[in-house]
Symmetry: D3
Subunit: 313 residues, 6 copies
């Protein structure tokens, strides 16, 4: 490993950052994040980074604004401290969902964040499972966009009877993602067709595809309130599904998501650690797969100039 | 109409540009496009544009590279001729399909083109039915992104028996677009689930959704070789569909598309004039709807500072 | 008043924004600020802003990161909604305190924020009493930098016996600001000379200047925890001051500041409303002067192209 | 040779690219250029370029727009594939002729192309015999501008009787270039003085200089239709020249140029291979000198950090 | 005249600036240029320029560095004072001569200055007779490039017997400029062919063209030391010229130029007032034509949005 | 020492540049600075700098505009000569005094210069004792900002009796700087309180702090005309000071400063060599400390990637 490599971690997911360092057999470099009495953030890089190849790990989880500001300030501090190259490692880039202008006079905030990261000093970005692949194009700097779908699919392959499984997308927009998951496992696909009744109300979804008597795996990029998951569960049960599982990359699990999930008939949920999950949310029915080896390998290749594309095979 | 408004047209679709001018009751401004003997393009703006609000209409149709270069040179000439504001009106932005990095070491060319337009001097863009809504976010300048889906849907509403219709997306990636069309007509949705057998080969699609004995409307953003359309037709026939129609915004219709379409069992195809269709391609079964009034109204509102968002209701 | 003028308000200080609108006899324009379940912010501009001259009022008060992100997203939404000119009105720009690199490997965050504002779409900034005048130079866009020092000084002139007053700066860095205040009232100046004992500890300040038997007015740009104020009070009492008042532009008053102030021997504190002060902090000994007329007049002049410099006389 | 060096070739002149690689004893790296059915271009880099020093060879020959677009897309793909440094090697930069604004409302397209190259990701440019030296200044990135004039002059020195030769510029604008050629061979200079009769018509040229009974070498940067060459031949014959030769760097030779040249009394033409010349154009009277060793040496020096200026001696 | 128009003048040529104002019937706006004791320049704009259309007249004459710095500081002050549009009017852009890289490791300073002007805040440039037309392309902002050649040619037409005149370029690089002059007067052209003997020494020029018994007009863009003029005079006399005149746009006339010119056999010299000529240099044989009406008309058209190109007819 | 390191010197302070090279045991690289007859500057880099780590030493001393232009042209030449990294070493950045907008419609010229340096090609800046620490934030490129205050303080510690010393700031704005000096020596602080009587006139200063019977050290960043120094001397004498010394980093000493200083009762003045001091100014009472070792060590660390922050301890 190049001794010029430095990995720092923001506040949002330091267990993941440490695990990445363990995979690479290096020590996490040190920075101090503080807050002045007027609620302004302050970051101090504590190791020399001149001419180093620096990576900063920060997920855009709650408190999102603080975590983004911390990352921006850290990038700026690293740049002015003469780091040779700065890569923002953002396992969960939550604003990717704000990726289009589906109402007048709103911001495509994912693009804004991409620009802010570059303004603050990021030279590259390493991220995972953006809500839409197109968000990659919002960046004017090189991006390595990894996917945990193979990791999750492999888990299903190893532990489930694929012959009865069917992948389910929770809406038309998610068909492509669920399709990738289904293709990898060579199982069929269904989607939930939802209709907007009014600006404010969306009618209950209708299942498109033949799910009767099958075991469904609802597949999403992120699970936030879990509301969509529960609604999909209901649609599927009405359509005669026997058993329901779920898979998702980013386990945001906010509000009453954990309780609702526990109370639901969803038998198992497989997620990753792109979002730090506190102990109290770790239900028995949730399996958390680690993305640390994947991120570590990508960092190693970026640092040494090897192909990261080869990781996607 | 503000007498400061100037509309120019590139080579690709001047009938549409003239129709837009007719809607606005103004004269198309003049430019000369020439080609030097060394195959270099040359553009001369022939009307004074100082402090004017200028629009240039150019679709990215064959020959695409020449049409893009012509637009870039025109934008540069307008800027250096001191136009106050320059809007690139691109009814068919073909490179929008290159919107993600689904293989290593390729270009997200839609983003590149967005940047080139800005470098050349575009201050705004007015476009229609981008392959993915996210492409909007590739631009760092204001974009008005119109859709002809309502226009096409209204045509179906007026001329077809909706009670038997079902909208069909040709793959999972198109589910969202076909879903919008279906929602507007309040008809059900089906999608074709295709699987990649190897890097080079995709297996025949499987229909997801209940299409038996219905009348299908295959809905796409663009029809190029028509190969996908014909393949979908075959899948639908095997699945028991009685009658097949198609709708698409951009009628590229290259290669043997017109002949194949004529020979197929697709009964009717409804498209728009974002792409100029020469007489010899105008089959009896093809209906061409005009987007000129929509573009003209958007141009009028941009020029006068009225809300374009209101056009989307 | 130009009917092209639009004033919006972020969450941080809408009473001030409304008061500014009252001064200008216009209605506050509407925007919606929401928060998705994954803690991402969402802003929707609800009035048409095409070709309008738009101002957004937002102070960088607690929660600072949320308020900055809200402003950035609002600026981006306004730009993509084709506002003609966008002015960020930031009555209290808290990060101005991070204006130099007094330790290795830190960020000059005030400069970073200036760059982020520009990246997000701000064309101008209107702000008040930056911690240092030099912060003005961090911006690459025009800035109108107003001061409430005359407002506060005028209040002292009207209600206090100037003959016994002496202005006091709480440290050497604040000497210039307190000097301006003193000059305007034509009263003498003293400063507190503090010494750093170690990296972590600063020794109690020593009063430089002749304060004995005078009435002191401690003058600062902002009062945050109030700790400096209380420490200065103690130094002054030891030096024989008879009575102590205080003046400051930005009343952050966080933590136990209000209680500590109440308990202290500081007889009166004069501040402004650049920072919104909730009812429970409004002690009898605090006088809040409004800066709304000043900001309103600056906005009116920016909008109509009159000299803002003339406001400084 | 640094094993970090990678040379790619666009479509326009791969024989030259391969010859350069031979000179450097390395293998041409691989890329795929394809065209989608909608006439959009597609480029895939097939060798890993992370942290490599990459050169792309592409001349702006017919079809010029396609070749420029291919180069821009290739540059973008290389940048996003994390190449360390990207040099666009453009042996024939045809748009250099659009280098000034000699009519209102036209584009200085050479500057536009320079900007587009930078937008697409070029870090440097290596080019040859630009139409005017000033075009160098259109680039904001480092340019190495080589000349084949010494190569061509050396050929004349070796194979012609210099004592009777006189260099001839085809118009006043070319006097400087022909002068450099004449100076190197230490032969006299003449120029053709042309006058514009109307906007559309230029009268036959008048020879300025003493050419009677001499052997003329018409010297130009590029030969396109050959029309200027033939007209100059006629002027020279009228002025009593005995024998006529020609030299030019870039043999575009479009339209009927080859036939006209064959039919003319021009006895010999010496050019280079910056433009690929198909077999059918290779007349016996044309000598093609190779610039591959010159470009190869420049690439070697750029890669290894040696002075390229020393090449000009 | 638009009352929003403001014209300021730097130190270099305020008589010309005042004459321009007279042509436009407006008052020169006021600024103060001062110098601190540490030799730093200071500029204060004394009239309100908010939302005004501002022009600053400054020639790059001796002291060139001070005049450029003054212009840059003025542009910056105007921008930060919220001028709506700022045009740098540079009648004599002396650095245009540094327009190519004819030696290794030098700066194309004309391009650098173009970039500096833009960095400092210039939105447009209005200039005259750049050393090469290509320098126009160094600017990324709109440039109006006027020529005084017609003005000077008209003077010769009115006061000289054209039938015996021949235009003479002082070297091959100036052939195009002298050719334009000759074409306008419909007189023949000759050029001086100079050869570089060594890096340091250039041999005496040889006259190319038939000048015997004619009256020569040496035509240049600028006359600096006058050395080239005197050398050309000598070459022409040796070649049998009967009488010698000279024309040039920019009369720099530094060093002993005035004395040498007086002592020479050059009978008359026609120049313009782009460079301020002090009384002591105004020899009887020098005629100074004013460019003020031309610049004034261009300013009027830029301000009112009329075609400036029409001025070139 | 990395053999890739190259140090060049502009005209302003080559003795310092040579001394820095001596400290690093390398040879000063060569460049030629010339002036054309039209007063345009010309710079030629005479050593190959491709891929080298280049430093250019230039102080902004009289003639300031020429020295800044020379530096800008040198930076541009180095960039176009493919230097890998270019650091502008500016020991005395005089325009730092123009750091705020304390009057309407003026330029914050320090920010402008920062932008110009970046436009011209500077990748980093190394400077000393900027007038205000905030000026650091005007740069968008990494800056290493060193201070000679410890060097000067150490000299006082070694040669003076600290027990009687008191540091004196010449105005409120300088309190912080003098405070740092006082803190380092652990001596008390006084400041001169000056009041503006009118726009043009400032009344004589009043001493704040207890200076009677002490020995004063007036401490400033730069001494220009010396007027402030003499005025402060007078105030101090009136306040009963026994002996007066002075310290300053940048000895500009223009106009009659040297004579006035000689004639004054200031007993000794300690400065550095950031500004070259000609022999005739070297009074016996002036001690010049060298900053060469400090700058050399910073250059060594920048070049080798070691922490420069560690220098500040």
């Amino acid at each position: 490993m190049d001794d010029q490599l430095r990995i720092f971690s923001g506040d949002s997911n330091s267990p993941l950052a440490r695990e990445i360092c363990d995979c690479l057999d290096i020590t996490l470099s040190r920075l101090t994040i503080a807050r002045f009495s007027n609620d302004n953030l302050f970051v101090k890089i504590r190791d020399n980074v001149r001419e180093r190849d620096v990576f900063v790990v920060q997920s855009f989880t709650e408190p999102v604004s603080d975590n983004i500001m911390t990352l921006l300030i850290t990038l700026d501090a690293l740049r002015s401290a003469s780091a040779r190259r700065i890569t923002a490692v953002i396992p969960y880039f939550s604003y990717a969902r704000s990726d289009k202008k589906d109402a007048p006079r709103i911001s495509i905030t994912a693009r804004l964040i991409a620009d802010l990261l570059q303004t603050a000093g990021a030279n590259r970005v390493l991220t995972m499972d953006l809500h839409a692949d197109q968000v990659h194009g919002f960046f004017n700097i090189p991006v390595d966009h990894l996917s945990a779908i193979p990791t999750i699919a492999d888990h299903f392959q190893a532990h489930y009877d694929l012959s009865r499984l069917i992948a389910v997308a929770t809406d038309a927009g998610g068909a492509k993602r669920a399709g990738k998951f289904a293709e990898r496992l060579n199982i069929p696909l269904a989607i939930i067709d939802k209709r907007r009744v009014s600006d404010a109300r969306v009618e209950q979804g209708h299942v498109v595809g033949d799910v009767e008597n099958r075991e469904a795996v609802i597949f999403e990029d992120e699970i936030s309130t879990g509301g969509t998951l529960i609604a999909t569960e209901n649609s599927l049960k009405r359509a005669g599904v026997r058993k329901i599982h779920a898979g998702a990359v980013h386990p945001v699990l906010c509000g009453s998501a954990t309780q609702d999930l526990q109370a639901s008939d969803i038998e198992s949920l497989v997620v990753t650690n792109t979002v730090r999950m506190p102990e109290e949310k770790r239900l028995a029915k949730i399996t958390v797969l680690t993305v640390a080896p994947l991120l570590a390998e990508a960092i190693r290749r970026i640092n040494s100039g090897e192909s990261v594309g080869a990781l996607f095979r």
